[in-house]
């Protein structure tokens, strides 16, 4: 078993890092201050097929395996200083595009995937509601069968990409008595459908260049042909999409952790105090050593979890473990970097405080750390 990147993986990483540094990094601070999402940068990502890394080549994607997708997203997290944009790409790809690629009918894949891959379309996952966050199946959004389709009513919140999305993957209750297992259905809803609106747009402490808001569905008609994966299949589709999101969003965090480490080490080697570089002081050096160890452990956990995604039934265990460990490691490493950089760490112009603000959300979205621990405990039979 080799844990070295192959030649192809190294090329993939190198190309994405170079692209991200050249095209996505400039202006990241300004977009953060203004909380502005850039569709131009999204389209640039589309030209690199980043929104469709693991989509089959016949639909315009790169056809990457989950592990290769992890390598690519790590490269994006490393090279791109716009954490909101990285998050937006990941949310689109992992929680929306992957479910369509894996569960869509041929017609649905042919209709949506090319645009979702090449940057023409942006997707939003509509699951969370005000009264049901990680408890996703206490949802109030309903889908009522009518001739030729369904009428959707409800309101989703904290929907990443919601205010800018062209397509919404909406989960709605079709049979409350069945609950999680068979009572929830996934619908592909064009956001220009009559009765659909994007509702409130939220202001956040981090990930500010990713637009997050509400989805409002007021009598939205969705034809039968836009049911994803069959009536009642939404619970399983959502659970699987969370495995992908938790495992592979963490890959982007690994890249961010590597960039933070390089920033912190570079500063510790150059900044002098009392006649020597501050990195020579153990109080600083130990922080950096811990950052390196967290980075290596995180990368291995991501690869392990990614390797489970396509077939293993225990993928959710590994996805929860990696999501929990890597998001908390990211926060620790971001805080350590701010501390090592001292006054520069909290100055907005250096961007490190922005990474910390972005990182704080990582232990919350896609299921909080507490929920991940619950899942791991349940897999232990507790």
């Amino acid at each position: 078993m080799s844990l070295e990147l192959s030649a192809d993986q190294k090329t993939l990483r190198r190309e994405i890092v170079a692209f991200a540094r050249r095209e996505l990094g400039p202006g990241a601070g300004e977009r953060d201050r203004e909380a502005s999402f850039s569709r131009e940068l999204w389209q640039a990502c589309g030209r690199m097929s980043l929104p469709g890394l693991c989509v089959a080549e016949e639909h315009g994607g790169l056809g990457l395996s989950p592990i290769d997708t992890a390598v690519a997203l790590e490269a994006l997290g490393y090279g791109c200083e716009d954490g909101g944009l990285v998050f937006a790409i990941c949310a689109h790809l992992l929680a929306c595009v992957v479910p369509i690629a894996r569960h869509g009918r041929d017609e649905q894949r042919a209709h949506y995937l090319p645009g979702l891959v090449d940057g023409r379309l942006i997707a939003v996952n509509g699951m969370t509601e005000t009264e049901s966050g990680s408890d996703a199946f206490a949802m109030s959004t309903t889908a009522r069968p009518v001739p030729g389709g369904f009428i959707l009513e409800g309101r989703k919140t904290f929907s990443s990409n919601g205010p800018v999305a062209d397509l919404a993957l909406v989960y709605a209750a079709t049979d409350r008595a069945k609950g999680f297992a068979g009572g929830v259905t996934a619908f592909l809803v064009d956001t220009d459908s009559p009765g659909f609106s994007s509702g409130q747009r939220f202001s956040k402490m981090g990930l500010r260049s990713c637009a997050i808001g509400e989805l409002v569905l007021e009598g939205v008609f969705v034809p039968e042909g836009r049911v994803l994966g069959g009536v009642g299949g939404g619970g399983a589709i959502f659970a699987e999409s969370m495995n992908w999101e938790r495992a592979l969003l963490a890959a982007s965090h690994v890249g961010t952790m590597e960039r933070l480490l390089e920033t912190a080490v570079g500063y510790a080697r150059s900044r002098r105090s009392a006649g020597k570089a501050i990195g020579k002081y153990q109080a600083v050096a130990h922080k950096l050593a811990d950052m390196r160890i967290r980075l290596e452990a995180a990368r291995l956990m991501v690869w392990q979890a990614a390797g489970k995604l396509e077939s293993a039934r225990d993928a959710s265990l590994y996805a929860s473990m990696v999501k929990l460990a890597v998001s908390e490691s990211l926060v620790e490493s971001a805080m350590a970097t701010v501390q090592v950089l001292g006054g520069y760490g909290i100055m907005t112009e250096y961007g490190v405080e922005r990474v910390l603000r972005d990182a704080m959300a990582s232990t919350i979205y896609s299921g909080t750390s507490e929920i991940q621990r619950n899942i791991v405990a349940r897999w232990l039979g507790l």
């Binding site: 008595a177 069945k178 999680f180 297992a181 068979g182 009642g232 299949g233 619970g235 039934r313 225990d314």
Partner: protein
Amino acid sequence: MASQEIRAAVKDYIMEEFLPGEDPATVSDSTALLSEGILDSIATIKLAAWLEDHYGIELEAHEMSVDNLDSIAAIAAIVTSKLEARG
């Protein structure tokens, strides 16, 4: 494989994995496992993984439903149909 044999094996697995120490008499072939909350979402996935491994079958996303997994009898029925389809 006889349905009764499948029912017994499934019940043994559920008692050992999810209800350790409970009286087996509390769970019958018709006890509602999902809709009564005996099995939650993760337990359902673990059960599906066991069924796939133990019987060499594959359950699709839409088959992970209360219609197919809510009771030992229903579980035995879908396992039987999968085994028969496989031939």
